[in-house]
């Protein structure tokens, strides 16, 4: 396999004008059954700001972790300045000249900026010389940070600057930024962009990972788009529209998906009327006038790119967040706006949040305990305040059997299950109760194909029994595969829902890219 890859390499080199700084050829990486990267090839040149674009779970993070030596590829070869390299760890990556700024910072709160940077540098340099180098780099790129400030006093944007300076002091040739703007305010984002542009002017290559189309068009010159672990093309950004990029990101596979036909006129089971939710931090999204009407027997799909209000909407529908007003959310005609999640469950709703570990399930508890957690006030698992352990185990056993959860041992800890199996369990735990309304977010995120097929079929079966399912998903193929009606969430606004049968991927892509914001597109 490797031989073939190396042989294909010279022809690659001939095609490009200059020798790429970093080139990846045929990178594949699997996690169990899950294919994270599938034959990805990619190159970046000095002085270039290159975007790595893709939806959540498209394999961006896996790819950059391979480039930074945090993961080893199963197959494939990296080339640095044309020489084949095997990057065995971050230290070696840094030695080559690859720096990376992570989404989550690894700073020491209690220490000063200079101390934090000193910890990352080889020993021997005096504090005074380090401080002066920090100041000169800050000046050169306009990244002002006080070396004596303590980290906990800094804003997130300033903390990111510390991380960037820490990278720059190691004199990198390539700077990888993993979703750097996800934690920044718009002003901080603008400042970061001008810094990154200055890097490129100085000959530094920047690999910029994002799924925010506007940012990519504003900042980068080329983009490589990943979809389901595959490179679906590297394009020059000039002349690309948001909707073209969105289409590349989400693909046109959806054209071939058999659409669900909406059930004949049926009873309205779940209704949201004009939900407003102000943002509670600089990094969240304001929900503006969201209305949902889901009927018995239908799956109501909510599409959209991550970070457009999905988390905020989900917590409002579940009842983890509640506004001041009543008369917003109705279950089968009953106002549940002021009910908390447990009360909504009693009222016959089921919830499956996106995060399996820690939100939908408690990793350190057994499956039987986890089964109880969403049923404690509903099923007879508790008698006069005392847990009925055998009923709990029977309940968990029924979920495991009906939903084909593969267990390492009987009644294992939730954390010992693979992603796909735990997801089947948390989905099964809700569906087995046949709730009137099921609210689910990202039901098949990061699970293998087999489990995804199973989970989607289970949701369709639930709808067929007369329940209403509201599904928030960033996977457009999934949205088209099982939704009866589809609406798109963009920047906190939900478009009107349309029957799946009359929608095309292009139209939904346009909405996801926000082209509808000024009312330009009609579906």
């Amino acid at each position: 396999m490797k031989v073939k890859i190396v042989m294909s390499y010279p022809s690659n080199r001939n095609r490009s004008k200059s020798r790429p700084l970093l080139e990846a050829v045929g990178i594949s990486k699997n996690f169990g059954d899950f294919v994270a990267n599938d034959d990805v090839s990619f190159s970046i040149h000095a002085g270039e700001i290159h975007a790595l674009l893709g939806e959540n779970g498209a394999g961006k993070s896996t790819f950059v972790k391979i480039a930074y030596g945090l993961l080893r590829p199963d197959i494939g070869q990296l080339f640095w300045n044309g020489e084949p390299v095997f990057i065995n760890g971050p230290q070696q990556a840094r030695k080559l000249g690859i720096g990376m700024v992570f989404q989550h910072f690894s700073l020491f709160d209690a220490l000063t900026v200079a101390e934090n940077i000193q910890l990352a540098m080889p020993p021997g340099e005096t504090m005074a010389s380090l401080s002066s180098r920090i100041s000169s780099i800050s000046k050169e790129y306009g990244i002002g940070v006080d070396p004596n400030a303590r980290i906990y006093n800094l804003s997130v944007g300033q903390q990111q600057r510390v991380e960037i300076i820490r990278c720059l002091l190691q004199d990198p040739k390539l700077l990888i930024m993993d979703e750097p703007t996800s934690v920044l305010t718009p002003q901080e984002t603008e400042q970061l962009f001008s810094v990154l542009r200055r890097f490129a002017d100085n000959g530094l290559a920047v690999l910029f990972i994002s799924h925010k189309l506007d940012e990519i068009r504003a900042l980068t010159s080329r983009a490589t788009v990943l979809r389901r672990g595959q490179n679906v093309g590297s394009v020059a950004i000039k002349g690309q529209t948001n909707s073209k990029l969105a289409e590349m990101m989400i693909g046109n596979k959806v054209k071939n998906v058999a659409r669900q036909n909406a059930p004949a006129k049926s009873k309205l089971l779940f209704e949201v009327k004009n939900l407003y939710r102000p943002k509670d931090s600089a990094f969240s999204v304001t929900l503006r006038g969201i209305s949902i009407a889901a009927n018995a027997g239908e799956i109501f799909g909510i599409a959209g790119i991550a970070g457009n209000g999905q988390d905020e909407l989900m917590s409002a529908l579940i009842g983890e967040w509640r506004g001041a007003d009543s008369g917003i959310i109705f279950l089968d005609g009953v106002d549940v706006s002021q009910k908390n999640p447990a009360e909504r469950r009693v009222a016959d709703m089921g919830f499956i949040p996106e995060e399996r570990n820690g939100h939908a399930a408690v990793p350190s508890m057994s499956l039987a305990d986890n089964a109880l957690l969403t049923s404690h006030s509903i099923v007879e698992l508790v008698r006069r305040g005392v847990l009925d352990l055998s009923s709990m185990k029977a309940k968990a056993g029924a979920i495991v059997k009906d939903f084909d959860v593969r267990l390492p041992v009987v009644n294992p800890l939730a954390s010992s299950l693979s992603g796909g199996n735990l997801q089947k369990f948390v989905v099964g735990r809700e569906i087995i109760k046949v709730p009137k309304v099921l609210i689910v977010s990202q039901p098949t995120w990061g699970v293998d194909v087999g489990a995804a097929v199973f989970i989607r079929k289970a949701m369709l079966d639930l709808a067929a029994k007369g329940s209403a399912v509201v599904m928030i998903s960033q996977d457009l193929e999934e949205i088209f595969a099982i939704s009866h009606r589809i609406a798109v969430l963009h920047d906190g606004i939900l478009s009107d829902a349309k029957p799946a049968g009359i929608l095309t991927a292009e139209k939904v892509g346009l909405l996801m890219g926000g082209s509808d914001a000024v009312g330009g597109v009609n579906i």
Partner: protein, 303 residues
């Protein structure tokens, strides 16, 4: 009056030793509640070595080694096997109390010649101050010297910076390639050595005999002292004098027939510590700078 101050100074020496050692361990993120046990092991070893070999200086050495070895037992469990630090520390205190009683049984009732006073030339001749500060045994000078060295180590050296980093965020320290568990192992061992020295001071200077449980809660006062000093070395000195003073007041008060119950006075160090905790909790900024964020949190390598 001079005699009273002198007694207070001597009483605070074991507290300075034990608290300085515990401070280093805690700044690296390890809460070792076994100080009392380590002090007792230090005390009995120091007394036994002095009694058998005849030299109190050998006793000092034996006390330091015994404390460190006891701490290594703690480290093997709490760091190597990632056991709960609170439970392990409590177990260590019980273990130390029991073992020191067993080892020390043959020595009960014996006396030894304690550490001689070593007057510092010239300085000792200063009126009043000379008597108070410069006519002590060698361990008293050592305790202050260790405190100064620890303060400089933590704030002025790279190794000290790494130790603080490990205590502040062990995941980030690991990501930068620092050996979290090894740093903590050294810090805990140093803490044990210091507790052993603090224990050794009791039979070698304060009361030249051995009796079971002779530390009488000084290990717990040292633990409280670390919090009272809000993990800042220089404050250990002031706190040790204050807590030492309170201990002496109890005795002096009884002798003079004060009406304050002695229990009230023995409460004082803990009440002062609780007050400091309340003040720290109300001042987020302060807590963030000096209290080790990873204190007591279990770290597992290769998780």
């Amino acid at each position: 009056m001079e005699a009273l101050i002198l007694t207070i100074l001597l009483t605070s020496v074991p507290l300075i030793f034990a608290a300085t050692g515990e401070l280093v361990a805690e700044r690296s993120g390890v809460l070792n509640l076994g100080v009392e046990g380590m002090m007792l092991m230090g005390a009995v070893s120091a007394f036994a070595a002095t009694s058998v070999l005849g030299s109190p200086y050998v006793g000092v050495f034996a006390g330091a080694v015994a404390g460190a070895v006891t701490a290594v037992v703690f480290a093997l469990f709490a760091l190597g096997l990632a056991t709960n630090q609170v439970a392990t520390g409590l177990a260590l205190t019980i273990f130390g109390s029991g073992l020191s009683g067993l080892v020390g049984a043959p020595f009960v009732g014996r006396t030894v010649d304690g550490l001689p006073v070593f007057a510092i030339p010239f300085l000792a001749d200063i009126p009043v101050l000379g008597n108070l500060l410069f006519k002590h045994d060698i361990m008293a000078y050592m305790s202050v010297a260790f405190l100064v060295i620890v303060a400089l180590f933590l704030n002025r050296t790279r190794a000290g910076l790494v130790l603080r980093a490990v205590g502040n965020n062990h995941d980030s320290a690991h990501a930068l390639g620092y050996p979290v568990l090894l740093v903590r192992f050294y810090a805990v061992s140093f803490g044990g050595m210091m507790a052993g020295l603090g224990g050794a001071y009791l039979p070698l200077v304060l009361t030249p005999h051995w009796s079971e449980g002779m530390t009488a809660g000084r290990g717990w006062i040292a633990l409280a002292l670390v919090v009272f000093a809000s993990w800042i070395p220089s404050r250990i000195l002031a706190g040790a004098l204050l807590f030492g003073g309170i201990t002496i007041m109890q005795l002096a008060g009884q002798a003079r027939g004060w009406t304050i119950p002695s229990q009230m006075l023995s409460m004082m160090p803990y009440i002062a510590t609780i007050l400091v905790l309340v003040i720290i909790a109300r001042n987020r900024r302060f807590a963030l700078i000096n209290s080790p964020a990873c204190l007591g949190r279990i770290y597992m390598q290769n998780k």
